[in-house]
Amino acid sequence: MGSISEGFVSLGPAAFIVKALLVAIGANLLLLGFIVLRRSYRKRFFRRRDARLLEIQRDWEELTSGAIPYDSWRTKRFDLRIIETVVLDKLEAADREEATRLLKFLRASRLIEKLIFEARQHTGWRKNRALVALGRTRAPEGIPALAEALRDRELETRLAAIRGLGRMACPEAGNELLNWLTEVGLQVPALPLQSALVECCSERPRMLLNFLHNAEMPVRQVIARVMGEIAVPALGSDLLPFVHDEEAELRAAAARALPCCDGTLAIEALTELADDPVWFVRLRAVVSLGKLAHSTAIPPLLRCLRDPNRLIRLRSAEAVLKIKIGQAEIFQQVLAAKDRYALHAYVTALDNSGLQERLTDEIARHDGFSPATKSALLQALRTGNLHDENWEKVRKADFANAASAP
C-alpha cells in the first residue's frame, strides 16, 4: 500500500488524473458488472414468475373457491403479488357475476384488507399503487381509505386517490369527492377530477345539482363541466336556470346537457345560447342543436353559420346537415346570406359527410325552384362559390320561396 501512495506522490500533479482514470475504469467495470448481473437475475426471475403464473392460472378455480387454503399462498410474497395482479386484471374485464365472485374471493382471502392497509400505512409510490389497486377492486369498503388519501399532503397521492375513487364508479365515491371538493376547494388539476366525477356520478347526476347551486368558483366550474358530460333527460327543468348563469362555463355546461331535456324547452334555451357572447358557449349550443336535429333549430344554426369563429361555422354546418328534410331550401338560404365563409363551411361539411350527390338530386328534382335558381344553386354547389349576378337570383328566389322553407 505504501508503495502505491508513494507512486502517486511521485507523479506530482498527474496523480489526480491517474486517480480519476482509475475511478473511471472502476466505474466502467461496475456498470458492466451490474448490467450483466441484473440481466441474469431478471432472466431467472421472469422464468420463475411465468412458470408460477401458469400454475396459478391452472389452479385458479381452486384458489378462488378456497379449495386451496388461502393461508398457503398469502404468506408467500411472490405468489401473493402474482395472484393480486391476476385478480385485478380479471376484475377489469369481468361481467357483473364474475366481478361479484372475484370480490368475494378478495374479501375471503383478506386481500382487500391488505390493500386497505397498504393504502393507509405506506407512503410514496407504494401508497399510490395501493390506492389505484383499491379503486380497481370496486369494493365499497375501500372508499374510506381512498377518501382519507384525498387529504394527503402529496399531490401525487391525492391524484392517485382521485383515480381510485373514479374507478369505484359509484355515487358513494362521488359523494366523497364532492364533499372533499367543497371542504378544501380545488387543490388538484381539474381534468383528472372531472374524469373521476364523470365515472362516479353518471349513475345519479342529480347528486351534482345541490353542489352546483352551493359551490363557489372554480369548484362550480368543475362540477358544471361534469354535469354537461352526464346530464340525462330526467334533469329537465333543473338545468334551465343555468342558461342565464353569469359563468360562461356553466352556460356551456347547460348547453351541452340540454339536448337530453324536453325538445321545445331545449331548443328555446339553445337558441338563446347560440347568441351568447362567449364562443365556446355558442359552440356547445350549436353542437347540441345538431343533436336535436329539429327543423326549428334551422334559423339559429343558419345565423351561426356566419359566426366569426370558424369552428362554430363548421359545427353549425355539420349540425344543419343533420336535419334530414329540406336541405335544398336550407342551401338556398345559406347562399342567400351572401356570406362566403358560411358557404365554405356548409360545402365542407357536405363533402365531409358525403351528402353532396343527394343534395344535387334534391335541387334538380325540386318543384319550387325556377330553372335559373336551380342552375345557380347547382353551380354554387359544384364550385363552392357564387358569382355576383347569381347572388341576386338566389336572393329573389329566396323571397319567392320563403313560404316553402322548412
Partner: protein, 486 residues
C-alpha cells in the same frame, strides 16, 4: 511567449473538458433519479383508463411528408392504429415530386373535398384537400413546397381542429400506446403542461410489418449502432435531466405534442428555420417567460417513436452538419435571452450550456487538438500527463455511454436479446475513435456553411421503413439529440 500561450490554452482545455464531463455525470444521476420516479409513478396509472376517459382531449396528428413514397403508407397505417380515444390525422404532402400523394390516394381511397382552410399561420398555398373514404379521420393536404418542413407543419396546424397537435415524421412509426403515454402529464395538469416530447429511437435493424414494430433488434452496421448509443445518451440522459428542471430546450420534430392554441399564438413554426423544432421550443420558453406564465415543458422516456437513422457516412455527415446549423441558427436568433434574469434558469443555465458545451464544443475541441499538437512540437507537452489525460477522458466518456445503456436496462429494456446488449456495450468502448473526430469535422462544416449562408436541404439516403432498397429522400428531421456528441 508561444509556450506560455500554449500552456494557458491546454489548461483551459483541461478545465473545459472536466466541467463538460462533470455536467454529463450530473445529468446521468438526475436522469436515473427522474426515470426511476417516473417508472414508479406509472404503477399508479392505468393507460387503459385514459383510453376510456370521456374527457381525454382530442389530438390532431400532423405528418409533414416530402418525397416519402416508400414509407408514407406504412407510417399512416401505423398512426391510424394508435390507441387513443379521439384522433384526427393530417398528412401534409409538401410538394412531393415522387408518388407520395398517389400512394396515399390509392392505399386510403382519398377523395378531394372542399374543406374550409383558413391560413391563420402563413404557409405555401394548399392545392387540394383530400379525405379518406376508408378512414374518415384521415385528411391529406396537398400543398406547394416552400422548401421547409416548418411550412408543411404550419399548413397542418391551420387545418387542425383539436386542442393538441402531435407532429410526427413521415419516416417514423410510433408504438401503439405512445399517444396514451405522452398525454399522461397533460392529463395530470392540462393548464401548465404546454408541450411534451417523447423519445426517438433508431428503427434500423428492427422488423416492421403493416405499420407495427414486430421485433426490435440492434442494427448491423457500426455507424447505426453508434447512433443508437447517441440517441440513448441524448434522450435518456440529457433530455430527461433538463426536463426534470423544466429547462428542456428541444422537443424532437419527429414526435412531440403541443397545445394548438399556443402554437397558433406564436405564429407557428418559423418558416425556413433550419432546426424548426428547437427554435419553436426556445420561442415557447421565451413567450411564456415574457408573459410570466407558469408552464411546464415535459419529456417522457416511455412514449416511443422509432425512426430511420442514416446508414452511410455521407448522409450522417449531412444530417449532423444540418443539426449544427439548426443549433447555431436557433441560439443566435434568441441570443437576447442569454443571462437575462427575466428568463430565469432557461436564460442563465440551459442556453449558456447549449452555447458553450454544444455549439462551441467542436470549435473548442478542434482548437484543443491543435494546441496539443503545437505544444508537442514546441516540446512543452508532458507526454505522460497527456496520455493519462487521454485515457481518463476515454474511460469517463465510456462510463457515460455505459450509463445511458444502463438507464435503458433499468427502465425500458427494448433490446431483449443478449447479443444486442453485448454489442451495444462493446460500441460504448469503440465509438470514441475515429467517429467522434469525424463528427467534429461535420459540425464545423455545418457552422461554416451557416456562416456562408448555405442553408440548402441536402438529400439523405434512406432505405424505407419496410423496404430494404435504398432511395434518396430529403432530410426531414432536425431534431438534434443534444449531448449526442459528448
Amino acid at each position: 511567449m508561444i509556450a506560455r500561450l500554449l500552456a494557458i490554452s491546454n489548461q483551459t482545455l483541461l478545465y473545459y473538458y472536466l466541467l463538460c464531463n462533470l455536467s454529463y455525470l450530473l445529468m446521468l444521476f438526475i436522469a436515473f433519479r427522474t426515470s426511476i420516479a417516473h417508472h414508479r409513478k406509472l404503477q399508479s396509472f392505468r393507460l387503459a383508463w385514459i383510453k376510456e376517459a370521456p374527457l381525454s382531449p382530442p389530438i390532431s396528428i400532423i405528418v409533414p411528408a416530402h418525397n416519402e413514397e416508400k414509407s408514407i403508407c406504412i407510417s399512416v397505417l401505423n398512426l391510424l392504429k394508435l390507441q387513443y380515444p379521439e384522433l384526427e390525422l393530417i398528412v401534409v404532402n409538401d410538394g412531393s415530386t415522387d408518388a407520395t400523394l398517389a400512394a396515399l390516394r390509392e392505399r386510403f381511397r382519398l377523395r378531394p373535398i372542399r374543406a374550409v382552410y383558413v391560413s391563420q399561420i402563413q404557409s405555401a398555398p394548399v392545392r387540394r384537400i383530400y379525405r379518406s373514404e376508408t378512414h374518415p379521420g384521415l385528411m391529406v393536404l396537398d400543398k406547394d413546397s416552400a422548401g421547409s418542413k416548418s411550412d408543411a407543419i404550419n399548413a397542418g396546424v391551420n387545418a387542425a381542429t383539436c386542442p393538441y397537435i402531435c407532429v410526427v415524421d413521415a419516416d417514423s412509426v410510433l408504438e401503439d400506446d405512445a399517444l396514451l403515454r405522452i398525454m399522461v402529464p397533460v392529463l395530470a395538469d392540462p393548464d401548465r403542461v404546454v408541450c411534451v416530447g417523447g423519445i426517438v429511437r433508431v428503427v434500423n435493424g428492427s422488423a416492421i410489418r403493416n405499420g407495427r414494430i414486430e421485433r426490435i433488434r440492434l442494427p448491423r452496421k457500426s455507424i447505426e449502432i453508434i447512433q443508437v448509443i447517441e440517441y440513448l445518451r441524448a434522450f435518456l440522459v440529457a433530455r430527461e435531466a433538463w426536463a426534470s428542471a423544466n429547462m428542456l430546450m428541444i422537443v424532437s420534430g419527429a414526435f412531440g405534442v403541443f397545445k394548438t392554441d399556443l402554437v397558433r399564438q406564436l405564429g407557428g413554426y418559423r418558416p425556413h428555420a433550419i432546426g424548426e423544432d428547437f427554435e419553436l421550443v426556445v420561442r415557447l420558453h421565451r413567450y411564456l417567460l415574457d408573459k410570466r406564465e407558469k408552464y411546464r415543458i415535459a419529456f417522457l422516456p416511455d412514449p416511443v417513436c422509432w425512426t430511420e437513422a442514416p446508414s452511410d457516412l455521407k448522409s450522417l455527415g449531412r444530417q449532423r452538419s444540418r443539426w449544427q446549423k439548426g443549433l447555431l441558427d436557433g441560439l443566435w436568433r434568441h441570443r437576447q435571452m442569454l443571462f437575462r434574469a427575466r428568463y430565469g434558469r432557461t436564460g442563465c443555465l440551459a442556453l449558456p450550456y447549449l452555447w458553450f458545451f454544444e455549439l462551441l464544443a467542436p470549435l473548442i475541441e478542434s482548437l484543443g487538438i491543435a494546441s496539443i499538437i503545437a505544444a508537442a512540437c514546441v516540446g512543452i507537452l508532458n507526454r505522460d500527463f497527456f496520455v493519462q489525460f487521454l485515457l481518463f477522458g476515454y474511460a469517463f466518456a465510456t462510463a457515460i455511454s455505459i450509463g445511458s445503456v444502463l438507464q435503458e436496462e433499468l427502465t425500458y429494456r427494448r433490446y431483449n436479446d443478449w447479443r444486442d446488449v453485448a454489442r451495444l456495450l462493446l460500441y460504448c468502448f469503440l465509438e470514441h475513435f475515429p467517429y467522434r473526430q469525424i463528427q467534429i469535422y461535420w459540425r464545423l462544416q455545418g457552422m461554416w456553411q451557416y456562416l456562408r449562408g448555405d442553408n440548402t436541404w441536402k438529400t439523405i439516403k434512406r432505405t424505407g421503413l419496410e423496404n430494404p432498397h435504398a432511395q434518396p429522400s430529403p432530410e426531414g428531421k432536425a431534431s438534434a439529440p443534444f449531448m449526442a456528441n459528448q
